[in-house]
């Protein structure tokens, strides 16, 4: 038992922190978030060509680095901390995980190398549902010979308008709940796919709607078991949830650091506001929530590794994901809110960065399920 980063993992984290501090500065974030694509293509290319981050947990046989989920969350934590605007959550935490969990050898061999090269990929499953598992799927498919015809409308698709490759979840016409779910992977330039960016309050992460109208997919696009892919989808979403929680943990650290620094520089009543106990105690609680978040995220990352490698603790995945996300969601937003309060009036301005985190915190809280949603998942495990 050794629940600490290895030296190599520390190095990965520190390298990520240094790289992002320089490349995802406030100015860079602000430029990217109002740009056409919502991210800086040159930076994205550098992330793939110089940092190999898209390749992190992809097995070596597909050209990846073959590292684990702990390394992945170490990097994601820094991305959340520096508010990186990039299609990383979508391409790596959603689409890559989908391929790793449910892809055929041929699909992995085709798409993983593309992702490693910087192609953008995402996962669409939710159609304006408050559920964040297989039950959220309402786009339907029907068989037509050996083909599948998809119809419906997806919402909240991360980077959906920019994606080159999509993983689609759809349900057999007439099925309900977790039944009848299938997964498909295909390029986005097929007939029958219509995409539109959704303007978002959190401008640092792009969302889109995708409408599929008589989208015809052949058998080679099917991932996992036809009509029984709910378990795959749930596993993919649990893995993505852990990744998002890692970002949240990183954001929590940054709003704490910003607040402490600001409080030490701002004087009122003849002393720095950092000396007021009301401020100190807020900061102490923020630190507590941030450290607790890390513990939950690192544990969940170890479990994600087990789940991806069928280890003995693999069956803890949903619980670990819900523990991490339920804590991190409320905690990040709480910390961001406290950060705003500690900054006083300047915290309410567009000029200071606090609002960027405040909005990211709220959007991340809702995406993939908020604290209440995940607590109810845990309650079901315990009580029903």
């Amino acid at each position: 038992m050794d629940f600490a980063f290895t030296e190599e993992q520390q190095m990965i984290r520190d390298t990520a922190a240094a790289f992002l501090k320089a490349s995802s500065s406030s100015a860079a974030v602000r430029a990217a978030m109002v740009s056409d694509k919502g991210f800086d293509p040159a930076l994205w290319q550098s992330i793939c060509a110089d940092m190999y981050w898209q390749a992190l947990h992809i097995p070596e046989q597909y050209g990846g680095m073959g590292l684990g989920y702990v390394e992945l969350v170490a990097v994601l934590e820094q991305m959340g901390r520096y508010l990186l605007c990039a299609p990383y959550m979508s391409s790596v935490a959603m689409a890559t995980n989908a391929l790793l969990v449910a892809g055929t050898d041929a699909q992995k061999a085709l798409y993983l190398p593309q992702i490693i090269e910087g192609k953008i990929a995402s996962l669409a499953f939710n159609s304006a549902s408050r559920d964040w598992d297989a039950c959220a799927v309402s786009v339907t498919y029907r068989r037509d010979g050996n083909d599948f015809i998809l119809n419906g409308n997806y919402r909240y698709v991360l980077d959906g308008d920019n994606a080159d490759v999509m993983v689609f979840a759809a349900r057999d016409e007439g099925s309900v709940g977790e039944n009848g779910i299938s997964l498909f992977v295909c390029p986005t330039d097929l007939n029958g796919i219509e995409r539109a960016a959704l303007p978002t309050m959190d401008q640092t992460r792009r969302q889109a709607t995708i409408t599929v109208t008589n989208l015809r997919l052949d058998e080679s696009t099917v991932m996992g078991d036809v009509g029984k892919a709910d378990k795959h989808l749930n596993k993919i979403l649990d893995l993505a949830t852990i990744a998002l929680a890692a970002e949240q943990a990183g954001g929590m650290q940054e709003v704490l650091d910003m607040s402490v620094e600001y409080s030490k520089s701002r004087s009122q009543f003849g002393r720095t506001i950092a000396g007021f106990q009301a401020i100190k105690h807020k900061a102490a609680d923020m630190m507590l929530r941030g450290e607790v978040a890390r513990s939950a995220v690192y544990y969940a990352a170890c479990i994600a590794d087990e789940a991806l490698n069928d280890g003995p603790l693999a069956n803890e995945l949903s619980e670990a994901a819900s523990i991490a996300k339920s804590h991190c969601s409320e905690a990040y937003f709480k910390n961001a809110g406290e950060a705003l309060q500690i900054h006083g009036g300047v915290g309410f301005t567009w000029e200071y960065d606090v609002h960027l985190y405040f909005k990211r915190a709220k959007a991340s809280e809702h995406f993939l399920g908020g604290s209440g949603y995940h607590r109810e998942r845990v309650a079901k495990m315990l009580l029903d």
């Binding site: 038992m1 000396g275 100190k280 102490a284 630190m287 890390r294 690192y298 479990i303 339920s326 009580l383």
Partner: protein, 396 residues
Amino acid sequence: MKLQFSPEDEQFRAEIAGWLADNLVGEFAQLKFRGGPGDEHMFPEERKAWERKLAEGGWTCVGWPKEVGGRGLSIEQQVIFFEEYARAGAPGRMGHIGEGLAGPTLIAFGSEEQKSKYLPGILSGTEFWCQGYSEPSAGSDLANVKTKARFDEASGKWQINGQKVWTSLAHESEYCFVIARTDPESKAHKGLGFFLIKMDQPGVTVRPIEQITGTSEFNEVFFDDAECAAEDIVGQPGDGWKVAMGLLGFERGVSTLGQQMAFQNELNEVVKLAKDNGAAKDPLIRQRIADAHIGLKIMRYNSLRMLSGGSDGSLQKEALIYKLYWATWHRDLGELAVDILGPEADIMVNAPYELNRLQSLFLFTRSDTIYGGTNQIQRNIIAERGLGMPKELRPV
């Protein structure tokens, strides 16, 4: 990062679990799940006998180095020991102040003579200790102690005068470690000494204090010309603060994993009650139960991080938050327990004031956020040491 224990460690787990299963029987069976927080006044004699039994098996002071008679277990095996101990429902340890506080202080700061005089009684489970820090005017502001220690040249002994308060288990203890002022002119943390005082002597009076639970686990302790041998001061006069603070550093949180296992037993009881009485259908109660479960899981991950971190004794962030986190969690559990009981929570088991376990949990957990540094003091410490924010103003 890896979560699994090694095969040797798992074998050790089987060993301690087996020993507990074989020995927590007969006269000791009644002690199962007893003597924990809120129940510390129960079965003192029987629990002292259990301490001797543990000692026979070599299961006291498992984390102490072998040179001083401990078992010298690795951190991993200590974790396992405390987990299995609590899982078996073995009783609250009468010896925890000696084993966890007095002993490690002596090992670090004591003279050879002090070690050979005091450690064997702790190891054998025959001598018990209490902690004489707090006074009526020295609570959170511990450095404000007024108890005086004067060296009497005639008798060649220290004479102690003053009053301690909230002294847990003083009425069950052979010895008390006391901080007292060796320099009567001194203020705050200067001029203090750290003394090892025998309780059974004419100058020491112990008076129980009735607690919120109606029971008494802590006491007032009065020193009226109490005697302390010249060689029973730890370090030099003036070193008292350093020694007392050093003590805090010994709590690296290994035993907290056992504490968590005890929390798990409590939570299990709360969950079972909610299922039995239908509260588990209430959406708000469901949220709170899930939250408690999540909080306890994360508490374990926090400790695993804390224990895996640098062995250089440096203060880690996850260690700084630990007390505030568990104390608040436990207090919330107490509230959840009585909210699940609902109106039954107000009905006593028996007159005049017999509490059931959950009522007792509710009342006793109010102390968790007070002793060992209140939540507010914890936040001051986190802000100052963890975040480098300014120290509290003190009148000059």
